[in-house]
Amino acid sequence: MCKKAFFVSGIIVLASALATLAQVRVTKSAGTKSVLNWAGFTISQSPGAREFYQTLEKDLTRSGWFSLTRSAPGEFSLQGSCADDGGSLKIECAVYGAADQKRYLSRAYRQASREAPRVAHRVADDIVEAITGRKGIASTRLAMVGTRSGKKELYLCDADGKNVVQLTRDGTVSVAPKWGPQGRQLLYTSYLKRFPDVYLVDVGNGARRALAKYPGLNTGGALSPNGRDVTLILSKDGNPELYVKNINGGALTRLTQTGRAAEASPSWSPDGQRIVYVSDRSGRPQLYTISRTGGEPVRLTSRGFENVAPDWGPNGLIAFASSIGGTYQVHVIDPESKQVKQLSLDGADYEDPSWAPDGRHIACTRTERYRSKVYILDTMGDPPVALTDYQGDWYSPAWAPQ
């Protein structure tokens, strides 16, 4: 074609490229990171801006996706600034791809200087999502059980382990916190009224209500993805079995009927159609899945001495703890193919896995010499990272879905 037409069509293509932001998506194989050069990002010298900078650096590193540099050329560059007008931070941020020259992100932020970490978490998450297409985890929170008050209470903290807040003051034993689908409600088992009952707590205002206080055991409370149903493990009919209860109407459906076995630990599939749980009907605790309306359970695991504590992640994979050679290690199983991968491997016990909303990281309990801390594991090869390093034992983490 003639040179002129070529030139014109080139202009049109370039114009449309600049007009729309690049659509993701960079996929990385396990262990490789994108080099992100942020030499073009400047900050003013105030405490607030410095705190923003340090938090952003840690968040981008903890995301697992990037290797940050200010010198080497990177696959991506982060440009912009963080200015402090004495009270509030003004941030501008743009991300460019080096190879394709596309702009992946362009955004401005404003936040009070004393809330520098909060806006840094947001910026980090926006950068992660723009480049990888995956949700960021920097702005998320975890719930867990802590013993530092002398009792077993629920606590919240940020995804970097900061801002630990005590959520319950039941003065007794709390077990198995699980988040509702919007990250606003927590379900857990408490002996507040002397017997194990399932409660739902609104994390914002602290309001609580009992979801199950039948005779016998009430535990295993987990809300379905649409927030309408809750799984329960109840023994009121003579044996611990799996039930589903509608949280508004109260209609209770029994899913299992195993007179000589115990069920435990239910977790919903991301589409809310199936539930994974533990049963020892074969003689030892193994994982099964069952339809939310009941029917024939499908056995998932057969190897290993004990397979327990499943968590069905947003990516469709199920994390769980398997007892192997005397310790518990976190594994991940694909319920479709039944392929299993072991995640953790050292002399400690790794239990109670909980998927992060990025579908990549997993929080869990790590117990060594009988002391427990919450750790974060990476399914793409980064080493485990301690989340909590505070007085007392910390365990049974639940990563908020948003």
Partner: protein
């Protein structure tokens, strides 16, 4: 032919004692003698013995009346060596009115917390089923599992674990 006379005496005593106490019929459902051996774990068929309402908020509780009953690892079966303790509990309950019992089931620290809540409950239910088999009213017996959350022994060896695999008894009025 000389017949050992003392054998007749023994037989007579046995027949006499059966006549006096009557044949104790063990109910099929709710019995603690489940003889199904699933994967090495003796199962107790306690299906179908629903629990009655819990004690009200004003109830008074009394601990320490009875010795705990202990369990083998990963088992919820009441072993023969422990049954004598339950005989005492049963006769105490049968001899008193207006008193109920909470059976608290516990586990050692191994295993997941959620699974241990269910296992502890199965231990409490097995004890309840045995007591029902001894003639105690089911409506008087509540179950409560603590899983691994309230160990009696804070150690981390088999001695501590054995001491923690237990059912404890709390009376209520």
């Amino acid at each position: 032919m000389r017949i050992a006379w003392w054998k007749f005496l023994v037989l007579g005593v046995l027949v006499g004692s059966v006549a006096v106490t009557g044949c104790k019929k063990k109910p099929k459902a709710g019995g603690a003698f489940g003889d199904d051996n699933i994967g090495g774990v003796m199962g107790t068929d306690i299906y179908g013995d629903p629990l009655d309402l819990r004690p009200g908020e004003g109830a008074r509780y009394e601990e320490g009346q009875f010795s705990p009953v202990y369990f083998e690892y990963d088992s919820s079966q009441v072993s023969p060596s422990e049954r004598g303790k339950l005989d005492s509990v049963a006769s105490e309950l049968r001899s008193r009115s207006n008193v109920g019992l909470v059976v608290e089931g516990h586990c050692d620290e191994r295993g997941s917390r959620e699974y241990n809540l269910a296992l502890g409950e199965r231990r409490a239910l097995a004890v309840r089923a045995y007591l029902i088999g001894l003639g105690v009213e089911g409506s008087l017996i509540q179950t409560k599992s603590y899983g691994e959350e309230q160990p009696a022994d804070m150690g981390h060896d088999e001695g501590a674990w054995s001491a923690n695999r237990r059912a404890e008894f709390v009376l209520f009025y």
